[in-house]
Symmetry: D2
Subunit: 397 residues, 4 copies
């Protein structure tokens, strides 16, 4: 008779795009992975009762709340999962930590370094397990890239060029949403998608040392969205776009590598171009989210005449997380990155260790983001320490 | 208050690779699709009690049986899903049809045309809904290709070249499994993977008229697998491989198109290369399962100077089934083809119509397979009608 | 002081597309290669005096003739290069051989096996050096592929799939040219482009054993071309197309490999798709004329986890012929295949050896072509020996 | 009777890699193009008599000099072509202009803006025709890109990301050559390859406004090369590398576009990765020198569902310069970019107009280079006007 595994009861705040992705991951985790603890989809919360009720039914949550504070106070909840807009993360995470709940939080961690620092302090002080949802680390190809780098297969890293190219904002008639308002989202392309590239760089290359960036808003005014879905462009009702449409960055890393980064929503033809190439003095790797199962790998010491990038389909047992799924080259998709992340989270709760990326990574990412914002505003290079020291984040190694 | 949807109670026979794929699809269908009826994962059956019990728990089935006949007889089962080796499909499907159960059956439908014909007659006679699991039709890119062809965007079809290239059998020390024995599986590469290419050709191009093929077994003897997993090559215990390692085919279609097909497990470097290109006199399309979200499309009447294959990422609302998932270019994977297929199946049960591909398609596919086998044995061209007429399949148009 | 190299005086019959390619190659050979003998562009011949005179000036030939027989008889000519339509090769090559001239001849060698046999006998009897212009063998990537195969890096060859896909004939209003008339050209897509694929197969895989093919003419009537260039479609002046628009082929090779081939001018979007993939039990290679500098290579014994096709840019010194050109990845193009071929030809004349591919290869290729034509006419498999024995080509090893 | 075309007698200074490329282009220009004037390969000069004599013979030059000043003074020379190291361009170009010779000069134009300005003034004052050899502008795909942009097909340009990635300097045992010495070459990766990317940006996007860059030397000391070719690493004989191994750049353009650029010789696996992507609000283009015949094009207003990058093989008559060569998809290579450039140069001499890119472009490029160098040294943004105004380049619009 099999011993029942410990169940971890999850309460999720929010239920839109990210809520859907997280929900599916909780739902499918036990199907694919044999984690130490297993999640139970206990409750979600949202302000609109009709909406949250319907979402709970559709996605398979047992109950719902219309007040996130109530959700956090429930005794039958072990984990709080935060998938709401960025401006809300701070208050929720602090409350959850103080209620002793483990926390998983969407990225970027918060609105600024100060918030992020206090969130990190709260989870440490309250001894809860925490993760930040930089899910792209969890593509098997990316994990495999990390393994190759850690094994020294690429040698000393010289370059990273990371781009996150989308084209969703090119239409000037597209109305303003919360993602266009700095007070809700912090930044635009930079925080929304660029933060993923920066996290992948920290994961694979190491810590940033200094940055210089340009943040650009190509379309400075957009129609204000009416309540309903039928948006009519009305020139008399235009609103200011207060975030960046695109950000480009140069960076130096502590280990001497140099990097270029670009996050934009104006790269026509690029739907979800989260890509990077890393060059070391022994080899190189390339990855593209749009073909997320593949990793291109080059070794400088391959046999002469036979050197070239090889395309690895990272769907074999040997590739991290891939064995849990299907036979080789029966590809997995976007959603599986969340399942892989959650498998680490469940094991982390069992082991009492906060897996990477956690709130420390969230804070470090926030420091890079804020350094870039400062750099763009000042039109100058900014050393990461300017932000991290000012913020008294002294316990980061 | 929402009216409860009708629940369709599924019983699945078998639980290995295909069982896992079907189980996940039942599990996730309601999460993504708003089908008219919804599936309930009622029971699975398997001969090994420990194995089937564990599988049921892991994959989320409510109960299990160790005798598939019992499963079929249960009153609380509406659908029988057959995911066992090919030699067993016939008996199970006949029994299920006679018990009035709707049926979904893995491909190829059966061991030969005679069985397939009787299976098709059984589902018709008993008025049950039936499908065959040629899941690759349900990649959004493939469905979109079908739509373009039906709209005449490719004009008259001239060519199809379909390949299904794998490399899993290249190692001569690989032991014999049921997939190497003709009496259990019918054929090797031809039935296992080639049947998918042939089904896609029927779906997209039309009916076959005549075929000529070569079936080749490169490694004619392989080690016999011991009970345990530790296979040691033992030259004194070699068994005959009685199926094809590779099959190549020429074909003429009723509409005048000509085709080449190849199914092989000896194409090193090709893990799951289910690919096709179709050329019409107005345009062309290309698809590759290893990047299943993409469709390459060429139009002969594009602006001069700007003609070339364009790569469409079929993840937008406009692409069939894709709207149920994630924002554009958040790619889906292998498993989602089954979910899409099941959404049609559930709606088909609600509407009383057997969606395509159904047992008629299974029978037609079997006729093509048997024509190829006959052609390879005789070393001659075989007209499809030789097989279909001999088999008295007279009600096929 | 450098010793003057022996000059080989070339006379070329014809001066259109192939004449231009050959002319450029003679012109540039000494620039890139240090061959033992060097060519002199002595004379060309053509029936239209204005045309041939202008071509000679433009392309750098020293003189011209309007009668090819005079060209062959000139004492100041060492080599006859035949770039005229296929129906003329036989008479010209026989005359050139009898006049003791070395010969380079465009492909296919002739109209049928009987002619090819007599041409081969003539060059042997007269002791002249001979080559056939299957120039695609001379892409550095293809030569490197050959080297890898000869070194056993691919192991036993199991599969070849060769396609030559073009789309130049899709427009039904395209007028009839000599390439559409069987009496001038022998066959259509098969001889014009398919013969290249078949030659590459012989070069890389080995000799054919048996074939079965389909030859299809999709557009059976086309407008007759008026004298001038302004073609008006005139339904009252339609001519019969007497050659194939497309040919598809299955083949068995003497070494047990099996192949599929397709030559078509109806594959929309494929401008010059001369491609092949070869799978052995230790590795695979892929090549595409449209990116002719690249070779994709896969090794089955690469490190686990790191297996995948690598893309080799065959422009390094280590790659055959590539060292004569530019630094790595400064790519060469179509025309350089002819220069490489001519470098072998010049050295062959110096050494008294006919380099491969020569008239023996032309004859063997013709045997395969004729076997395919017979197979398509009879709708049956044809063993290569049926044609080669009938033709009394007994001295082929 | 055809009227003899005017012959333009060329004298080239230098004969190594670039000399070979230019020589071949002169040699082949009349073969492919019907230019107004035609070049004659009159003489080359080089200091080593044996070397220059051999080069002249091999490449087809009629005579040679060992003193470039003599070459410039020769009456039978109309054009001076400068293909020597960068530090020599200034003196040669000034002398040639003063001698009334037309000039074609390799890039970058000179060592600094001051030299470039004086060179530009000299050619203007002396009324000679001048070009700078940014040959990559002359790939048909790049010219076609320019045409699409000029037609407004891409709309307002938002982004350019240009990389020139090579891996030739990764080996730390590679000895020092003139390319590693600032006093001879000006800069390293930036001037050698980055200058091409920057020129393409100016050609396709427009003028730079401000830049910020990092110039990095990863390997700061390298073995000193002995006279002979057998380099032995000798730790006691190390020399300083005084130029950049890699440079990364952010840029703003006058028209509001933003750009990222990277030039490096440490990007393993990238042999000659001169690539760019440009995004406008109506469309995008991508190009890669390693497949230089192709242009990827995306139009935002393509039919919904059918949007995606299309790959155009720019080898049709409609594509600039391509009609001079071969039938569609019979690809051309690196060397043809020089032939295309020379066809403009010959026509320019006939018409009395200096075609683009000319010394003005060389000067403007130099201003960008110097701005980047200043920016890297100062670790700050630099406005292009800081350099151009300081240099009193007042006649640039």
């Amino acid at each position: 008779m099999s011993i029942e595994k410990k169940k971890v009861r999850v309460g999720m705040i929010g239920y839109k795009f990210m809520g859907k992705a997280h929900s599916l991951a909780y739902r499918n985790l036990p199907f694919f992975f044999d984690t130490k603890f297993v999640p139970v989809m206990q409750a979600i919360s949202g302000r609109n009762e009709a909406g949250v009720k319907k979402a709970a039914e559709k996605m398979g949550w047992d109950s719902y709340e219309t007040d996130w504070r109530k959700l956090i106070q429930r005794d039958d909840i072990d984990v709080i999962d935060i998938v709401t807009p960025n401006s809300t993360h701070f208050e929720m995470a602090i409350a959850a930590a103080e209620a002793g709940k483990h926390i998983i939080c969407e990225k970027p961690l918060s609105m600024n370094v100060n918030q992020a620092k206090r969130m990190y302090e709260a989870v440490q002080k309250n001894g809860v397990i925490h993760m930040i949802c930089h899910n792209y680390r969890f593509a098997p190809a990316v994990q495999y890239a990390k393994k190759l780098i850690d094994q020294g297969r690429l040698g000393n890293i010289r370059h990273i060029r990371g781009t996150y190219l989308q084209d969703a904002s090119m239409d000037p008639n597209l109305p303003i949403t919360w993602r266009a308002k700095k007070e809700i989202t912090g930044s635009g392309a930079l925080g929304d998608i660029g933060s993923h590239s920066l996290d992948l760089a920290r994961f694979l290359v190491g810590e940033f040392q200094e940055v210089v960036g340009v943040m650009e808003t190509f379309i400075k005014q957009r129609p204000i969205q009416n309540e309903g879905l039928n948006v009519q462009v009305d020139a008399t009702k235009m609103g200011e776009v207060t975030v960046d449409d695109a950000t480009v960055i140069l960076a130096r890393f502590e280990n001497g590598a140099i990097g270029t980064f670009e996050a934009t929503k104006f790269a026509g033809g690029n739907l979800n171009g989260n890509r990077f190439e890393i060059n070391g003095d022994k080899g190189s790797i390339r990855w593209d989210l749009e073909n997320l199962n593949n990793l291109d790998v080059y070794f400088a010491d391959d046999e002469p005449g036979l050197r070239g990038f090889r395309t690895i389909n990272c769907t074999e047992e040997i590739h991290p997380y891939a064995g849990a799924y299907w036979p080789p080259a029966h590809i997995i998709g976007y959603e599986h990155t969340f399942i892989n992340l959650l498998s680490d989270f469940m094991n982390g709760i069992a082991d009492g260790i906060s897996p990477k990326p956690n709130f420390e990574d969230g804070l470090r990412n926030q420091i890079v983001l804020e350094s870039i914002e400062k750099s763009a505003m000042q039109k100058s290079w900014v050393n990461i320490s300017e932000i991290s020291n000012n913020s008294l984040v002294t316990n980061l190694k």
